[in-house]
Symmetry: C2
Subunit: 222 residues, 2 copies
């Protein structure tokens, strides 16, 4: 498949790009508002992969061209830019494309991190509100620590909860998630259930801050 | 230690009572609004333990007497009764006692379960608002499925996140949690961080509903 990572120059985008490039044959399209930055990051990812003996092209584009080329469009931008990013690529989205929401909106104070969802309810629902009719949105990958994902020496053993209202789209994303070695993807139900998934992320960060020896935490349900 | 389980006739209370009785020497005090019901349940728990070769007294009392006798007072009642239950036992609480909040307030609709915290922010904070000054409140045990806990044939491998503003009280509860075989207790930070812990519970239930072969889920952070 063709996977576009809008904002794929950030750390979660980098982690997903590296993992999919290493573990699958999917086409990896890095998007950025600045095409030159996307190309430069794509080159850097590819260099890192080549050093590990992985032959896999990683391409860089402006967000709109990445979205036009991708069938799966991961909105891996900071959460406050998620809606605007989707609105900017609406003309590039085709029937059959799927938007994926991995971001979480949080605040930080002296107590740690707190879940602070947007007015739409969740980042995933904010993306759904900005998406054209007929383009399904799937929540996934919110609870993967970027550090755990980008370090390819780290053997993942993580669950990814997938939420969405379109069963086929959810199944495609579930399958893409499980294409990454060490990920088990679970069905979290409809998009309305995304809030409880997003809210785990600040907990993971707080646990890493408050407990010695814990860092880059992921979550397993058993 | 003396552990009082207010509403210990319910399933989470039962699970904690059975586990602590089996795995520790702590005194287990089952509380109920109806002392006779507490005694009857305590007898039933003890019978179940005896059949497993565990010799450990389990005592039943009215909630107020259980709270008076206990140093650790677990408010294991349905969340909507948590504040009233604490208010009713205020005269029975002594300096040095610790209140523990394991409950989670949820709603259910066709999509599944949703986190629906009380106006105080969390059940733990509602309990803190009802508690006398100087009695610390610790959030813990919210993410343990009652079914996983009450079935003593089930080997637990679960994390318990402990939150609270009083470091000593939090450490006592952390230690009590780890007294249960298979539980690892993690510091989740101050009581203000309890929301993200409570909100995992509806996710666990949704995952069990939506994924074949999953039931009575617990969570691990790694």
């Amino acid at each position: 498949m063709e996977i576009a990572l809008l904002g794929g120059t950030g750390d979660i985008g980098e982690g997903l790009a590296l993992r999919w490039a290493r573990d699958t044959d999917h086409t990896i399209l890095i998007g950025s508002r600045m095409p030159e930055k996307a190309r430069s990051k794509a080159d850097a990812y590819q260099t890192q992969l080549t050093e590990r003996g992985v032959e896999h092209d990683v391409e860089g584009y402006g967000n709109e061209e990445a979205a036009a080329r991708g069938e799966i469009v991961v909105v891996s931008v900071p959460p406050q830019y998620a809606s605007d990013t989707v609105e900017a690529v609406v003309p590039a989205l085709d029937d059959g494309d799927v938007l994926v929401s991995p971001a979480v909106q949080m605040t930080r104070d002296a107590d740690g991190f707190h879940y602070d969802p947007p007015a739409a309810g969740t980042v995933a629902e904010a993306i759904a509100a900005a998406a054209p009719a007929g383009i399904p949105v799937v929540g996934a990958f919110q609870n993967l620590a970027a550090g755990a994902l980008t370090d390819l020496d780290n053997d993942l053993a993580a669950d990814v909860v997938v939420t969405g209202d379109d069963g086929d789209a959810k199944e495609v994303v579930r399958s893409l998630a499980e294409d990454i070695t060490g990920i088990r993807a679970l069905d979290g139900g409809p998009l309305a259930n995304t809030g409880v998934v997003e809210s785990i992320t600040p907990l993971l960060i707080n646990l890493a801050m408050n407990n010695e020896g814990m860092h880059d935490l992921t979550v397993r349900f058993q």
